[in-house]
């Protein structure tokens, strides 16, 4: 992860000091990294051994999928169904990767190593940066901090689960959605984005009771093309959107 200093950024359109990017990245990395504790406790409470719990954080490293998997296993689901639900939740990372590969412009040889860090939080921090240098710093610092802390706190949570007792009583289950909300909020700049978010919420909640775990979120992603298509038909936001295009 040292290559990001190799390419000087000549396309800076907006000044944001490296220190500010690092501060943003550390804020997200530390806050979310600490919530690995909640995962460790939940996983141990679902009957997984500490080694199985730690393997999930080290190898899967995408929180929503991890929570979905241990939840399904605890509910008595068979391992393949449980894995399928977790996988469907993880598919969104492919979309993040599409966007990140444009912004990060990593050499092909580095991509397999960067891939494990392509998650909600690194994407959100990277997308918020005005320059390629900022994107790379944001992605790397968020990824590194979050990976180290998430795995460390997973271990602590798995070992300390019995001492803690009921995690829900501590409110730890609200940490996940709060993190997602904090990541989402800065992205809701235009009507197009707000419309897509609103539609996605309605679809995601509406389909939750009728489709298998993980699938409603994927269907909700269709809110993006639907809203773009609707805006295109009315032609009203073309100016607004092309203005935002110019930012990059």
């Amino acid at each position: 992860m040292t290559e990001q200093t190799a390419v000087p950024d000549t396309s800076a359109v907006e000044d944001k000091p490296d220190a500010a990017v690092v501060r943003d990245a550390l804020g997200v990395g530390v806050a979310v990294g600490l919530s690995g504790f909640a995962f460790g406790v939940t996983s141990a409470g679902s009957g997984l051994t500490p080694m199985q719990t730690c393997a999930l954080s080290l190898l899967v490293f995408t929180g929503a999928s991890q929570f979905a998997l241990v939840g399904a296993l605890a509910a008595g689901g068979n391992p393949i169904t449980a894995a399928a639900g977790a996988f469907f939740l993880g598919v969104r990372n492919a979309f993040y990767g599409l966007r990140l590969s444009q912004l990060l412009a990593l050499p092909r040889a580095v991509r397999p190593f960067a891939a494990q860090w392509v998650i909600d939080e690194t994407t959100a921090v990277a997308l918020a940066q005005p320059t390629r240098r900022g994107v790379r710093i944001g992605f790397t610092v968020t990824g590194l901090t979050l990976y180290l802390l998430w795995n460390l706190t997973t271990l602590l949570g798995a070992l300390g689960a019995e001492a803690i007792g009921d995690t829900d009583a501590w409110g730890l289950d609200a940490a996940g959605p709060a993190v997602f909300l904090a990541l989402l909020a800065p992205m809701l700049k235009t009507t197009t984005e707000r419309a897509a978010a609103t539609l996605a919420v309605l679809v995601g909640l509406g389909l939750l009771p009728v489709l298998p775990a993980g699938v409603p979120v994927l269907v909700a992603a269709l809110a993006a093309p639907v809203v773009l298509w609707a805006r295109g038909c009315r032609g009203s936001s073309a100016v607004e959107d092309s203005a935002r295009e110019g930012e990059r």
């Binding site: 996988f87 966007r99 940490a175 709060a178 909300l181 919420v201 909640l205 009771p209 992603a221």
Partner: protein, 102 residues
Amino acid sequence: MSVWIAIGVTAVGCYAVKLLGLLVPAGALERPVVRRLAALLPVALLAALTAQQTFADGQALVLDARAAGVAAAALALVLRAPFLLVVAAAVVVTAGVRAMGG
């Protein structure tokens, strides 16, 4: 053993989709409509995830202490609180509401 199978399948699948996204050639994404879509997809996914993690209990929709916690987080965001404080507000309020029997 079956737990290890689930872990293995999930790990391989989740890594594969992450890598797939990064490996799609940049040329495939140069059309403006594709770029707009790639920018808007994370918004839709994050919104749906936030809603589900707030209101879902398994496959049932519920309104419980988490909603109060996430509302507190939203308020903290509006007040431009730092990230850790936003998450802390959600956790503390959720725990508080549950302690009061909510």
